[in-house]
């Protein structure tokens, strides 16, 4: 049916990588190649190629602007031409799937992840930096969070209850200290993120290796004692008074922040 072919052709002009060249070369051939009947093709206006290109520009610009807004430091390092090219490939190879516009940057990063990892022309830290930038929106908009506390004190034989927005991100670079222009240092980094229950702002805590090791296990819902013991075993650290005191201080700080709610 011609109307369906028209929609398919129109969408292809926005999505396909080679569409700009094909449309510019012969817009009528482009529509015909997508099944639009000759009598309909004949009715296209003279400026069809130029007008069709406007839609592609509008769609891609909108997506590019959203990614640049959520990932400003990453976008600056990529540069405008490279970001434009990345968006073109993203749209052609995967494209956003969710109907929620704000989520498209996360979808873009899911697509970019394996590609950027293998791309020697990009800075090694870029994917970590992008994921860190995106985590602010990811945590800030997480539908979870603000759950009622169990009311139970921490217990060694119980898992703990975190606020639903709490997550631990590990990076090979100190991305949280990256400036607009300077590259982050290569440094194993563990960041705990949560959304403040009062002001809804995303808070970022840089964790020590032992706090990160314990938190990883607690987020996996291991009982508190097992999490402490296994973390010490992993780090080759004795489970001594100093360690326990440090963890008690860490838990108290998280509780005061509303990130740790008690025993699950």
């Amino acid at each position: 049916m011609s109307e369906e072919a028209l929609i398919r052709a129109f969408a292809a002009s926005v999505i396909e990588l080679d569409a700009p060249a094909a449309v510019k070369a012969d817009v009528r051939e482009f529509f015909a190649r997508h099944g639009v009947p000759p009598e309909v093709v004949a009715g296209l206006p003279e400026a069809a190629a130029e007008r069709l290109a406007i839609y592609r520009t509008m769609v891609h610009s909108r997506l590019r602007a959203a990614v640049a807004e959520f990932l400003p430091k990453t976008a600056a390092r990529l540069g405008r031409p490279r970001l434009r090219q990345q968006i073109e490939r993203f749209v052609a190879e995967a494209a956003p799937k969710a109907p929620y516009f704000w989520r498209l940057t996360g979808e873009f990063l899911n697509w970019a992840g394996p590609r950027w990892t293998e791309d020697a022309t990009l800075p090694d830290y870029l994917l970590d930096l992008a994921r860190h930038e995106w985590s602010d929106a990811e945590v800030g908009n997480d539908p979870a969070g603000g759950e009622a506390a169990s009311g139970k004190p921490l217990a060694l034989d119980q898992p703990v209850q975190f606020d639903g927005t709490v997550r631990l991100h590990r990076y090979a670079w100190a991305v949280h200290r990256a400036t607009e222009t300077e590259a982050p240092e290569a440094e194993a980094t563990a960041l705990l993120l949560y959304r403040d229950r009062k002001d809804h702002q995303v808070k970022v805590l840089e964790l020590t290796p032992r706090a990160a090791a314990v938190t990883t296990r607690l987020l996996a819902r291991e009982p508190l004692q097992a999490a402490l013991m296994e973390a010490c075993a992993e780090l080759g650290t004795p489970l001594d008074d100093e360690f326990l005191a440090a963890m008690a201080g860490y838990f108290a700080d998280l509780a005061e922040r509303g990130a740790l709610l008690g025993a699950a």
């Binding site: 109307e3 999505i15 309909v40 406007i54 769609v59 929620y100 498209l104 800030g140 959304r195 002001d199």
Partner: protein, 299 residues
Amino acid sequence: MSFRAGIAARAAVPTGVGLGLRSTFLAEVDRGAADGRVPFWEISPDNYVARGGSRPVRLARVAERFPILSHGLSLSLGGLDPLDGEFLQGLRGFLDASLPAPWHSDHLCFSAHDGKMLHDLLPLPWTTASAKRVAARVREVSERLGRPMLVENISYYLPLGSTPLDEAAFVVEVLERADCGLLLDVNNVFVNATNHGFDALEWLAKIPLDRVVQLHIAGHEFWDDERQDLIIDTHGAPVRSEVDALLAWVVERTGALPVLLERDENIPPLAELLAERDRVDSVYQAALARHAAAQGGAA
């Protein structure tokens, strides 16, 4: 139940000139910066569904003080893909729980294809077959959302071939087949009339005004500042006087309606936007007075 009866059975319909509740000033509005200045706000629930944090909290507080209208961007009413059931379910859940909005609206366009969400308003061919297909989808959406639907006419930059219908006839056919209301965007009428060389008032004269339930008004910009041969519906500039005139033409004939002043790009400070709203409201009020005078004269 007709779409009018469906609307009447739901929340009270606000009238006057409202604004889109944008994230850039949501916190200010939450704190009361626009109290007494705006008869209603319009939101896009697509920006709230399945989303936590400050937005839903602030929206809930704003909704306690103002009527809220619901206007979406993502239904792809004209698309070839099946309707997104999960999205519709989430949308209905949000509307039922959060907003006593009298209707939901979206655009006469497609915005997704082959599972790819393009996040823009892409034009449809103006054929009866297309109108039938879109109208069936509008009816289905209305049923699945449990509320009346309005469809909005869009700006288009490329008419898709020589079609048997013109745009106005296509819009009318969808409205009648779907038995839905029209969210009439008078800026889009102006943009299309200018870009494609037709008379905006002739276009409006073809529209059954009893189906017009809400109006959108906005500013637009030139695609190329040097050539200035194409205007784009960016919602990024103040409203032009020619668009004011179209608003007045409609309101003189319909009487009181909710009119939404859209601003999505180059969003000015809230105080400036409120001043622009006041200016559009003066156009609206003058048209309403002429409508009342004409009604009185007729009586």
